[in-house]
């Protein structure tokens, strides 16, 4: 019977992790393994500890969390002794299939758009950019207007910096299903030497702009990553 429960947790769509008292992971399921690509063990342990009940037992909490593309609406923290603490996160699941209207998409060279956005946004800026481009990326279908608006905002964030790197590459092993077709993902990674400081409202604006141009945007302390499907 024990095996059955273990299998149930292993195959759950929601991530599950068990930590020891030092914050080391003792056990986790498949979903948690995927989640650990985007968030540190330390951060999840802190999340568990800070939301644990006062006494032994289980505590549900409704929180809004987002790691990479996945959002979570609640967590469950449980512990029965001082040596172990378990954390389960509840995914926001949507079964809407991702469709993009084709009428506003145009086949275009992504590097031309990057050049255009860079030159117009940074016309009077002294920012130097180390460009690391995978030139094998073919022409892809993009909503040019919306994508440029999003790209302009990304470049604007670095306007007052001296130096950044911009890497454009195809992500290996990741796909998105768009209009029932499997599409590779192109990633544009803007990386600065120092920490980036911008408020949450700008993050929201950028997310909305990225979404409108069928892309996803991710923020790190010193980087912004824009990912868009390679619709051919």
């Amino acid at each position: 019977m024990k095996d059955f429960y273990e299998q149930l947790i292993e195959n759950d769509l929601n991530p599950y992790l068990l930590f020891d008292s030092n914050g080391k992971v003792k056990s986790y399921n498949k979903e948690a393994e995927f989640l650990l690509n985007f968030v540190s063990i330390k951060e999840l342990f802190q999340l568990a500890v800070s939301n644990a009940s006062l006494n032994f037992g289980f505590n549900h909490k409704y929180v809004s969390l987002k790691y990479n593309k996945q959002s979570y609406y609640a967590i469950l923290v449980g512990y029965a002794n001082d040596d172990e603490i378990a954390l389960r996160l509840y995914k926001v699941v949507s079964n809407n299939t991702h469709t993009i209207k084709d009428d506003k998409l145009k086949l275009v060279n992504i590097f031309s758009l990057i050049d255009l956005s860079k030159n117009s946004t940074l016309l009077h800026s002294k920012l130097e950019i180390n460009e690391l481009y995978d030139i094998s990326i073919p022409e892809i279908k993009i909503n040019i207007n919306d994508f440029l608006l999003c790209l302009n905002e990304c470049f604007s964030i670095f306007k007052n910096e001296d130096f950044i790197s911009l890497q454009v590459y195809i992500k290996i092993g990741e796909y998105e299903i768009i209009n029932q077709k499997k599409c590779k993902i192109v990633s544009l990674e803007f990386k600065s030497h120092g920490n980036l400081s911008f408020d949450k409202s700008l993050e929201k604006t950028l997310e909305a702009k990225a979404h409108k141009s069928n892309a996803n945007i991710f923020f790190d302390h010193n980087a912004i990553k824009l990912e868009l499907p390679m619709i051919l």
């Binding site: 050049d115 030159n119 946004t121 440029l148």
Partner: protein
Amino acid sequence: MNKFIAKSESSKKLLNIAQMSSSLPVNILIIGEKGVGKKILAQNILPDASIFDAKTLEETIINKTANVEQYIELIIINIDQVVNKKEFLDKLENIKLVATTTNVSQDIESNFAIKLDIPPLKERKEDLQELIKMYVDEAENIYEINIDPEDIDIDLSTNGVSLKKSIFRNSILKSLKDDDMSYSLEEFITTKLKKDYTYKDLLEYFEIPLLKAAKKEYKSQLQMANKLNINRITLRKKLDQYSNALND
């Protein structure tokens, strides 16, 4: 159609972006002070597009006096003058727009994927030299005189507009002959006489330029009085009388 002068580095970059974006389905906003060349750059991007003043076009849309849907591309001048910008831009959603503005605001900017910010002429030395040369050539042809650009008191307060005005004004003044001067003075005095100016009122129009020129030409009041052949006391009185105008 005039060609956008692009001799300076910043103008070359701007023209390059303009050319790259001309074939893309994106809206372009050209920003800059009066007279920097916004309209000319817009015409370089969309040479066949109709040109509208933004306020007039807004009224046309509101009053439904014209069907804007017939256009596939438009140049809109002074888009910052539009009252209801969102509604205005919604109506033009399927048209490729190149708009110009002197003032930038968030509600306009967010609708334009490409923004071209043209610096003032004083920051574009190479373009300024080229423009001076162009206007001087034009003025020399019209007035049949030789102009040394160094002699012109160039006015850049409204960039190309005031530059052209200052060069042409200078050229007109240089080309005036005695007859022209006499004729223009006569015309000028006639208009003043219609407004009941007296002999005394009109005298200052002769005396101020005369004293200004003499002050520039001669070193001292003694020399001025001798050369103009008037009494030193009379000269001093005149200089005192017009001291404000002479010290400007």
